[in-house]
């Protein structure tokens, strides 16, 4: 195998002396400045090591991000100063080897490198490399409700939805107001049903819907987008109103213990708090807000229909650009 080591260190060859002696591998040493140019022509028969010891933090981050995007060649990180604090993350990002302080001193043996060379990321992971990377503390609930058990913690897509025109509806009298809010409940239930969404909590004018999440996509984005556009139709068609009923929607992906509807009173969840705060405190009339966890999954082409809306409770928020 062709092994290229990118480093500014004069003593770097000591670490690879055993490999050089074995003559099983072709070793080459290059300065870090040639990393991108050299890597371009490399394929599966090559392997690179990158020495990050001389880099400051921004440069190190930039280099690691660049390497994470490489499918080939395989790469290892040389880190004699122990600058990397989360080694596991390196491997999640595609690294196949990590040479820390001790290993740097002792050098890499032939057997070890054989293991390194044969170590590959899961093919599915490689296939999914271009897709949004999901956070590793997700506890995927799946694509439907079959495996979801009460009392267990899962990652869900949360949708908060609430009618804006509360006072106008209250003015219509209790009977008519109850009818409109009941119709709104059924309308929402109908819209989310095809995506396996379930209304989980409901107050008079809105509530919280849960969608199972398998990490592969976030279909409620498109459904909510359409609901915003269609609200001017639904106001007349579904609710028989002579004014436009608008609603605010917030989407978030996060964890919660699952309990059936009506038995959720004792659940303590940061995600539930966040989605309610986002929907009730941040979102304005007619808004459709999504957290950073959701925005990774905006369907390609629809990104330009969302604008950055700053941060709220330490989460980056995007808002749909609304039609007038």
């Amino acid at each position: 195998m062709n092994v290229t080591v990118f480093s500014e260190s004069r003593n770097i060859s000591k670490c690879f002396s055993a490999l050089e002696k074995s003559r099983e591998h072709e070793l080459e040493y290059r300065p870090l400045s040639e990393l991108r140019k050299t890597v371009k022509g490399m394929g599966k028969g090559s392997f690179i090591y990158v020495d990050i010891s001389g880099m400051d933090e921004p440069e190190r981050k930039k280099t690691l991000n660049y390497l994470a995007k490489l499918e080939e060649p395989g790469y290892g990180i040389i880190d004699p100063k122990g600058a990397v604090t989360d080694m596991a993350h390196l491997f999640y990002s595609g690294a196949r080897d990590y040479i820390g302080k001790e290993l740097y001193r002792s050098g890499i043996g032939v057997k070890r490198f054989a293991l390194t060379a044969s170590f590959r990321r899961d093919p599915e992971e490689v296939e999914d490399a271009g897709k949004p990377q999901v956070k590793r503390d997700y506890l995927f609930s799946g694509s439907d409700w079959k495996g979801i058990k009460s009392g267990q913690e899962y990652t869900f897509i949360f949708m908060f939805i609430e009618i804006d025109n509360k006072s106008e509806i209250r003015k219509m009298g209790q009977a008519r107001a109850s009818q409109v809010t009941a119709e709104f409940h059924d309308y929402v239930a109908d819209k989310v049903a095809s995506l396996n969404g379930k209304i989980w909590m409901w107050m008079d004018f809105g509530g919280l819907i849960l969608f199972p999440f398998d990490g592969k996509g976030c279909d409620p984005i498109l459904e909510a987008f359409k609901m915003v556009l269609d609200s001017r139709i639904a106001s007349s068609e579904e609710f028989g109103l002579d004014f436009q009923l608008t609603h605010r929607i917030a989407l978030h992906i996060g964890n919660t213990v699952y309990k059936s509807r009506g038995n959720t009173g004792t659940i303590v969840s940061d995600s539930i708090n966040s989605i309610f705060h986002l929907g009730q405190k941040f979102a304005g009339k007619g808004d459709f807000c999504i957290t950073g966890e959701v925005s990774e999954f905006i369907p390609r082409g629809l990104e330009k229909c969302f604008a950055d809306a700053g941060t709220f409770e330490a989460r980056e928020i995007k808002k749909m650009i609304l039609p007038v």
């Binding site: 001017r232 007349s236 039609p323």
Partner: protein, 307 residues
Amino acid sequence: MQIRSAMTNLAIKALSESLNVDVMTVIAEKLMHNYDLYQRTGYPSNIPIQKIDAAKQIVKDIKQQDLFLDLINLLILFHTEGHMGRKYQIQHLKAIIRDVQEAGMIYDQINRTFVENSDFKKTRNWGVLREGQEYIQAFLRLDIVGNTKLVKKYPEDIIQATYADLRDIVKRSIDAREGRIWNWEGDGGLVAFYYGNKNFSAVTSGMEIVHDIFIYNQVACRLDNPLGVRIAVHSGLCEYTANEEDLKKRDVIKKLVDIEAKYTNPNSLSISSVVRNSLDKQLSSHFVPVNGGKGNDIFNYQLRWVQ
């Protein structure tokens, strides 16, 4: 719709047990021009016709002329609203309606007529429109902008797939509102609405199609540029025909084509003032006069964004 003998017998009982011969004759004359009950039953003109004989003859003739549902519609009207200021309690009406519904029809409260239940059957004429008869209908027309150029520019599979996508969008929207595609030529088509509040259904279908095409163009369109579609809605009295060439000659269709071709921008919906005037305030508020309202009575809807 197939009229089973049990349903026929119920109708005969309903007439004979609820109405006298004079009122039965009024109903028969409403449905059958120049109807002469004495001549049909063979009774001498100086002898009163028995109620049961009158009922049997009227129902028989109505069935022969394929007017059975019209008879039931009239009976419902006599029962609910009366005739000439007087209400009539029509016996067995609930059972008749149940039988008609079991035969695949539903009652359209707004138009006071039975139409086919699309859960069971979906035909071009809703199971009730008859060739040569006039009905008030709403129509929606769609046309793909620059069809000829698109066909020249893109391979056939791309064009076919794109046009199939459009048809799916249209079908999803109109099916939910009991619209029927009367004509589809690949690059667009004509949709008719008869059931319920037809103008409202045609307009909301058109608005939803505008929304769906917007989303389609962002996330799924196979073309280099957004797919452009012009949509128009107009309504009026139209003589029913299954012949597409004859249909094009109808005034309401000619005006519809005119609205679509002359007053509609790509990916927008234009409607006539007749249609707009029938909409509620909320829905009509989303339409603006075309050309500022000068020289025409057309109103347009499109998605507009904050700049």
